[in-house]
């Protein structure tokens, strides 16, 4: 009797498991690039310029995004879209930034993603066939070169990038003046100014590493010079087998990060607070510096006025000081959308110069050549000046597989928890070899 029960239970489990397998298979076909994407684009190119041509059926377009809604950009888009398409409604769905990628990674394979998607995995999603080919769109010509490259996969363009970003150190000018400190010109100067602040019982750098992505905000300003200062083609060379992840570049950057962590220059609660609180602590003067992306002045302006904000980049330890120049806030269309023409029209509207100027105002550097947002915060011009003065490079890790980036974050939390660099780089190198197929050059 007992045996029979066990056998039945086992059979039941196997059935459930195989049923799951089947449904996965179906989903893959549904989202496959060959079946849906070309079909979706063909009718669109003809009618995108004819507003209202899409019949009288009411429809709703859903848009997923994570950025803070400043300047009322999303409302304005929704309003203008309604003017053009009285039957259409645009629904903007904001999701928390810390789990945004994972959410998209689960929804896209399940066929439950929204019609228009802000995302940071454009090439990977394009490769998987989730995104509509937008190569014929007129706005592509207006984007800058790094955005154009970042939106391409196998010669086709799968979306736009709204922002250009860089990373560096934001500092409180008042604290620096009181302590008679100036922005550093060498790595050692950077260390010694941290030491001085710490000696005065001022937390040198405040970060909110609980959000995980924030680890990169503190790592990129260091790694960008250590990876590319002596060899601008480091990542390509790793791909071609001429350099290794377990080499002086990654090990060096991890060691420099560990130097900051082990000497106690980060806030003590860095692993248990998120970025919101870290930024608030910085604004409240509880720390002298905050390593973050170039959107920070806009965010600070949204929270307080006349904050004495300054910006500098971390000087290279050896070789040239390089600045990260990444593309941010990718915008694509779900290949499986039921309203391809309308979605294309919506994206066109979202990328119109005046809309982007509204989006970028006091917020972000634009990835479009014809868009010049207004910045009230002087730190923004310091960022622009630094970008002009130093060679730029795409963010370190853009050409590493996701597993390596995840393991890198794991290694960084380990360093912060006092676990040291250890053989982290060797582990990263192993993962790189395993998942090399996920690198899209």
């Amino acid at each position: 009797m007992k045996k029979l029960q066990l056998t039945t239970l086992f059979l039941a489990t196997t059935l459930v498991a195989s049923a799951c397998g089947n449904s996965n298979g179906n989903n893959e076909t549904a989202g496959s690039p060959t079946s849906s994407a070309p079909a979706a684009t063909t009718p669109a190119s003809g009618s995108a310029s004819a507003p209202g041509a899409s019949g009288s059926e009411p429809f709703t377009l859903k848009v997923s995004y994570w950025a803070d809604n400043k300047n009322g950009y999303y409302e304005e888009v929704a309003k203008r879209f309604k003017e053009k398409y009285p039957n259409g409604t645009v629904e903007f769905n904001q999701h928390p930034g810390d789990k945004y990628n994972e959410l998209m990674n689960t929804r896209l394979p399940a066929g439950e993603a929204d019609d228009v998607l802000f995302n940071m995995n454009m090439t990977a999603y394009a490769k998987a066939g989730y995104l509509m080919d937008l190569s014929s769109q007129p706005w592509i010509a207006r984007m800058n070169d790094s955005a154009k490259t970042a939106a391409q996969f196998e010669g086709k363009t799968y979306g736009a990038f709204l922002e250009v970003n860089t990373f560096g150190v934001f500092y409180n000018k008042k604290i620096f003046e009181e302590q008679q400190l100036v922005p550093p010109t060498t790595w050692d100067e950077f260390l010694s100014l941290n030491e001085k602040l710490k000696a005065q019982k001022i937390t040198p750098i405040v970060e909110g590493f609980k959000d995980i992505w924030t680890l990169q905000a503190a790592y990129i300003p260091i790694a960008i010079s250590t990876y590319f200062g002596t060899n601008p083609n480091f990542e390509r060379d790793v791909y071609d087998g001429k350099a290794s992840v377990n080499g002086p570049e990654v090990t060096g950057a991890l060691t420099q990060f560990a130097e900051l962590a082990d000497k106690g220059y980060f806030n003590k609660n860095s692993l248990s607070i998120g970025n919101d609180q870290a930024l608030q602590d910085f604004i409240d003067g509880k720390a002298a510096m905050h390593m973050m992306g170039s959107w920070t002045p806009g965010v600070i302006d949204g929270k307080t006025q006349n904050f004495p904000l300054g910006f500098f980049i971390i000087p290279a330890k050896d070789g040239n000081t390089v600045m990260s120049a990444g593309t941010d806030k990718g915008l694509s269309i779900n290949a499986a959308t039921e309203h391809p023409e309308e979605a294309i029209a919506l994206v066109q509207l979202m990328l119109e110069p005046d809309m982007l100027e509204l989006y970028g105002k006091d917020n972000a550097l634009s990835a479009f050549n014809d868009v010049n947002p207004v910045f009230a915060n002087p730190a923004m011009s310091e960022i622009q000046a630094a970008l002009q003065a130093h060679p730029g490079h795409r963010n370190p890790g853009d050409y590493f597989p996701p597993s390596v980036q995840d393991a890198l974050n794991t290694a960084l939390t380990k360093i912060l928890a006092g676990g040291g660099v250890g053989d982290s780089a060797a582990e990263l190198a192993k993962l790189y070899e395993k998942d090399k197929s996920k690198v899209n050059f």
Binding site: L6, F10, T13, A17, G21, N24, N101, E102, N105, T106, P109, A124, I212, K268, N269, S270, L271, S272, I273, P401, P402, S403, D406, T410, A411, T413, K414, L416, A417, G418, G419, D435, K438
Partner: protein, 228 residues
Amino acid sequence: MQAAKNTLYVLAVMVLIGNPLSLTLALLLNLPLRSRGLLRTLFFLPALMSLMVISISWGFILQYDGLLNAVLTLFGFENGIQDWLGTMDYALPAVILILLWQGTGFGAVIYLAGLQSVPRELQESAQIDGATGLQRIYHITIPLIMPFITINTFLGIAGSLKLFDVPFVLTNGGPGTATTTLGLLIYKYAFVHESYGYATAAGMLFMILIAVITFLQLSITRRREVEM
């Protein structure tokens, strides 16, 4: 590897400490106290709450500026304050502590049902024969509630092996890999590393592993059950 170690560690603690803890709690709650009803409710309450809610609330208690450190400072233990979830040595014990807090009451309720089914006559006759309290527990109570030990051990093993939500919310498996469990690792393979095939294979193997371990456990503890 670290994930497997962590999972086995959780498993060992939950079965070897959590289970006896539930039993002890059940024995205590079975005593004729006046506040018995209230205490039973209180201890069972955590089992009713969502693990997400529990993880977030405990996060507030254990974080560096959290309640625990505030209390420690208040009583003059400044040197003892820690980022409990941000330290390699304390993160996993903290997660286990939360699981024990949450799971003990539930286990105790199951044991309590078992204790109530032990016939009073047996206890009384043993008492008349001169058996001490501990002797009665060991020779009468435990053999008679063996089916309940089976089910609690089973739930404990299955629960620890598939542990996912608490570390996912509380620490995201960190710092480093200090609180990464096998379940969390498989999730990461799929949705962070985007290696779906690998994750599917790992998930299948993991299911078979859990099945084998729990079947083994069931056959061992079943053998020790006695018929009334």
